[in-house]
Amino acid sequence: MEPSRDEILFATLESLRPAPSPAFAAELDARVATGFPRESAPAASGASRLAAWARGLRPRRIVLAGGATALAAIGVAAVLVASPSTRVNIDTSGGGNIEAGPVVSGSESSAGAPRHLDRTPKQIEEAFGAAGSGKPTADSDSSSSNGAGVEYEASAPTAASAGAAAGTAEMGSAEAGINDQYAPSSGPYASQAHHRDVEYAAEMVLGTEPEEVGDAAGKVFDAVHRYGGIVLDSSVSGGSASDAGAEFELLIPSAKLGDALAAFSRIADVRSRHETSNDITAPTVTTAELLQDSHARIESLLNELAETETEAEREAVEAKLRSERRHAAVLKSSLTNLQRRANFSHVSLRIESGAADSSSGAGGWDVGDAFHDAGQILAAAAGVAIVGLAILGPIALIALLVWLGNRAWLRQRRERALG
């Protein structure tokens, strides 16, 4: 049987197949047997060794190493986020007030509570007076905290606003003493005043059971009465956990504000408590000085009135006297208003029932808080991962594109060499 044409063609191709020489085959066998020793290769540098190591990496190992690195980064970020030493609780709202952290229920002197909560307004005032150059300015929106950790608002009212108060009143004999009190001071900030007038305000939220709202409200009234305070407005409602509650707008003598707040704190769990102070010395001093000047002008007009000779002169002086007395009455009203603001502190007190607002930070750490914290940690970790990907992603993409481009270019050049 004759072989086919294809068999003849393939046999001919087989006969054309180049064969290695026995010497080369033996030499290559020896090299393979010894594992291709690097006889004449120069000592590799660190960069070349690193490049050789990088080339030796398999894609699967790269993915595993990258994943492990990402998990480690997320773990480190989670630890950093969860670390108490890295927590910063700054409320940037409300004109720069530095807010205290959450108040521990029923523990006025606990370590977690801000220090100023244990201080009376008098102590706060003393601490403020010792702050020296750290005193607030009347035209500044920013606030600062002195070394004693006292909070205060820097937005003090100006003298112009004090003069806007309306009302009439007769001058009293006590005005001279008041004027003497502020006499040494001068300038818009009254920095040399011997006595400082500070206006205090406080907000407090108490939490209790719905059926105990009534008793708590009664204790609030008792405490207000005990410390000589005034209830401006009150509202007490009963019902379910979401409806039961009470709200109070109170005026408490500033000298007893600390004690009153402490008494309120003992009524129920404190869910939040914020205090602000506002130095109104400057407008008070200015108003007192203006009032003193007005009194002097009135005295002068009275002397002038006694020396008038004609009816026309007498009427003219009396008109000036009436105007000046009205001006003095306005100043007196303003000064009284400023003194009342310094003497009495405004307290907004609210009694809530039911679950505490998570933002209040009161109460123990429960499962809900754990989920909340876990969510925050995961969110922070995800943020770190996203930032990391935002940085590493483009770099990796560029590196991948360069690698693919180089590979394609090299392949094209090789194929071009063939063709």
């Binding site: 044409r5 294809d6 068999e7 003849i8 063609l9 393939f10 046999a11 001919t12 191709l13 087989e14 006969s15 054309l16 197949r17 180049p18 064969a19 290695p20 020489s21 026995p22 080369f24 085959a25 033996a26 290559l28 066998d29 090299r31 393979v32 047997a33 594992g35 291709f36 030796g56 398999r58 392949r411 050049r413 090789r414 194929e415 071009r416 060499a417 063939l418 063709g419």
Partner: protein, 198 residues
């Protein structure tokens, strides 16, 4: 270490040889490092002459073919831990390295090589063979010279290296069906170019 290469006359026998070697190599490479060494040695023993034949057919220079063959095996030895069986069979991986090394050599030299038998082989073969066989060799050599370089590359991979269509596809970077189609066209052109002599 040299191993007698079986005579291959038809494509089916080529495929059968490659498949058996690949299965043994893959099984050994997945075991201990010592087994991987043995697997590489087995790959070398089964492919040394094939690699040389393929590289020599591309370069048509015995000295250069020896250098490139040694370089290809050394590269394969250095990269043996990076071999991924999911990306192809060991022989295809090895011939991919050898092809790149040969093309790099061609590129470095800046010239194209004719895919044909070495003239020394022709001279040595004419001693005992018949005039008809010699005429056929000359005709096939001339026919190979008329093929496109890529077609000669496919012929070399198939008949000198002994690769299957799937392995050729992996080496060249095309699909298996595309490799089969291109190879069929190349063989057809070669057959037509040899018309009258065979």
């Amino acid at each position: 270490m040299s191993e007698a290469r079986p005579k291959l006359l038809v494509m089916g026998k080529l495929f059968a040889r490659s498949s058996g070697v690949n299965q043994a190599l893959v099984a050994a490479a997945e075991e201990a490092p010592a087994a991987a060494e043995l697997a590489f040695e087995a790959l070398y023993r089964s492919s040394r002459d094939d690699v040389y034949a393929y590289v020599a057919s591309l370069l048509r220079d015995r000295v250069a073919a020896e250098e490139v063959t040694a370089t290809a095996f050394e590269r394969a030895y250095r990269k043996r831990s990076r071999f991924d069986r999911e990306r192809g069979e060991p022989r295809a991986w090895l011939f991919g390295i050898a092809r790149n090394a040969a093309l790099d050599e061609l590129r470095r030299r800046g010239r194209h090589s004719e895919l044909a038998a070495d003239p020394e082989d022709l001279a040595a073969a004419t001693v005992e063979e018949s005039a008809v066989a010699s005429e056929r060799r000359l005709a096939v050599t001339a026919a190979l010279a008329r093929l496109e370089p890529r077609e000669r590359d496919l012929i070399a991979l198939k008949f000198f290296a002994g690769l299957s269509n799937a392995e050729i596809a992996t080496v060249v970077g095309v699909s298996e069906s595309n490799a089969g189609t291109k190879l069929h066209r190349a063989v057809t052109k070669l057959r037509e170019a040899c018309d009258g002599a065979i």
